[in-house]
Symmetry: C2
């Protein structure tokens, strides 16, 4: 990747994206609402841009039309020559890269908050790409997560860090910085009022945090727990590729809880249990996520670690207000 | 409808159907399992036939390919002349009608148990078509529901009766008798072990009940609560047809609970509440079911009534055993 400009400048160009997966309705309906009533995304020093990331998939209430948009923001896809038979999501990723990027360039947006829902019992999770979990971008995102946690201490928030195979491929990677907000459980194609209102409040607080930063607020150092994704575990399957069992009732809904060696992870349809044969405790996430069946993922294993986040210094020059 | 033969004969031809909606995975995976291991569906006096009702929709994990199969078993669709551009589900309904019907004929199967899942918090529900809620077919189904309730009294079961507009159109209507087993909440495209094992146990108990009946067991009269569907309520919508709000958090997940006049039913995205403006208490069901967004249904209203079910007399002649 090219060298990124220093982040210690005000964030002026911020996008909130929803419908990156067209059947995750929290972001879909928040963005549709903001497109009609954009005032909610305005702050004195900037206005966030609402973007319906995958309108074709959203129109048919599916995750995607031809391929998963949130795996399509690689340089290979983004720089490929347009062809008539391109998958829809490749064309759409290139459009978004023009609007919000280009990826890795000085012209790219400062921050993308990408809104997602999961069928897994993951509560409120923030997902950061691991290649960005370095000073200085991660420092900013970690302070954002910390700020959100402090705003509503009664809720549990989890920070999840993952490393895409090869290069970054998610929508936030188009901008200079960004994270995914993942909320669940919510079925695909369903909008729950509780998820919707919590997601909306988190977006508002995110913009408040950026505003505070832009106006010269400093944030002190802290330690935080992070779940780092290790690898995935597929369902037990029959010879023809169908499920031979499903997530064990003792594992279902226990995202972010410790899974000990020897604990049951699958219940086979023949009645037998499959036990976790690893040699150390892991923390499963995205347990029984609907969209991952086709990706051969019953759950992801993660490791819990404590990260020391340095202070986020105050901007030295006060920003000018947006016109 | 033509006159049905007397039901007071042993039930020999029984089908258990799953995947009528291809993304409701409880029935899909039970049927796939039974196709490999059919012994579970055998009883001394009969063997139930497992059928994957909509294999094309199941293969792509969608409710349907061209149209809702479970609204396609009308005489109009079933008797229409085949054409190359027929919707897939019309062709498939005709195939199933050949295999399990023909609808309304002496040759039709005796009983179809059709397996469904819902994203709504409906627990375990039995759905009967209202045109069959007459002596003698309903008597049999009601006794079946009663038997299942008595097998596991710790669970709550609900009986739901609906009247299709015009003629019957569901898969069970192809047979001489039948019901839908509806279990939730389970997201589309997800198989939960708890739902799967409970559905499996209910199917086993259903076959046990038929076996008892076939062998000459009599069942006494009883009274039971039934929820009769009245009509549906759509979401509040914007001018372009998108949602303007969603199911109110005070209504979400409260299927089968009383909804009083003046209680909130929707939370608009502008923050306002929409109140129920009916003049009598109703009992909402299928609250926020994913598949019903496109049908303009946020929930169905039902009325609760008590039905007196007459005794189910013992068969007079003991049945011969199946070969």
């Amino acid at each position: 990747m090219c060298a990124l400009p220093t982040p210690w400048e005000p964030l002026r160009r911020v996008a909130v994206t929803g419908g990156t997966h067209g059947n995750e309705l929290g972001g879909v309906y928040l963005v549709r609402h903001w497109l009609q009533a954009p005032g909610e995304l305005q702050r004195p020093s900037f206005s966030a841009t609402p973007i319906l990331a995958n309108p074709a998939a959203t129109a048919v209430c599916r995750r995607y039309v031809d391929q998963d948009l949130n795996r399509t923001f690689t340089n290979t896809f983004l720089t490929s020559k347009a062809a008539p038979d391109d998958p829809y999501e490749v064309t759409r990723a290139q459009e978004l890269n023009q609007q919000l990027g280009p990826k890795g360039s000085d012209q790219a947006f400062d921050f993308i908050l990408d809104l997602h829902n999961t069928t897994a019992n993951m509560g409120t999770s923030f997902i950061l790409e691991a290649t960005r979990n370095l000073f200085p971008e991660a420092t900013f995102s970690m302070h954002l997560c910390r700020y959100l946690q402090l705003q509503s201490p009664e809720l549990t928030y989890s920070i999840l860090e993952y490393q895409a195979p090869g290069e970054t491929n998610g929508l936030p990677s188009v901008a200079k910085n960004g994270i995914c907000l993942e909320m669940g459980p919510q079925p695909q194609g369903v909008l729950r009022a509780d998820i919707f209102s919590r997601m909306r409040a988190l977006v508002a607080s995110t913009l408040d945090f950026i505003e505070l930063f832009n106006r010269g607020t400093a944030f002190p150092a802290f330690d935080v727990e992070v779940y780092r994704i290790l690898d995935s575990v597929d369902f037990p399957r029959t010879e023809d590729g169908h499920l031979a069992g499903t997530v064990h009732p003792q594992l279902q809904d226990r995202d972010f809880e410790p899974l000990l060696p020897g604990a049951p992870i699958f219940k086979l349809f023949n009645g037998k249990d499959v036990l976790y044969d690893g040699d150390s405790t892991v923390y499963p996430v995205f347990i029984n996520e609907a969209a991952y069946y086709e990706k051969s993922v019953a759950f992801l294993k993660s490791r819990k670690l404590t990260v020391s986040v340095p202070a986020l210094p105050a901007l030295t020059a006060a920003p000018t207000l947006a016109p």
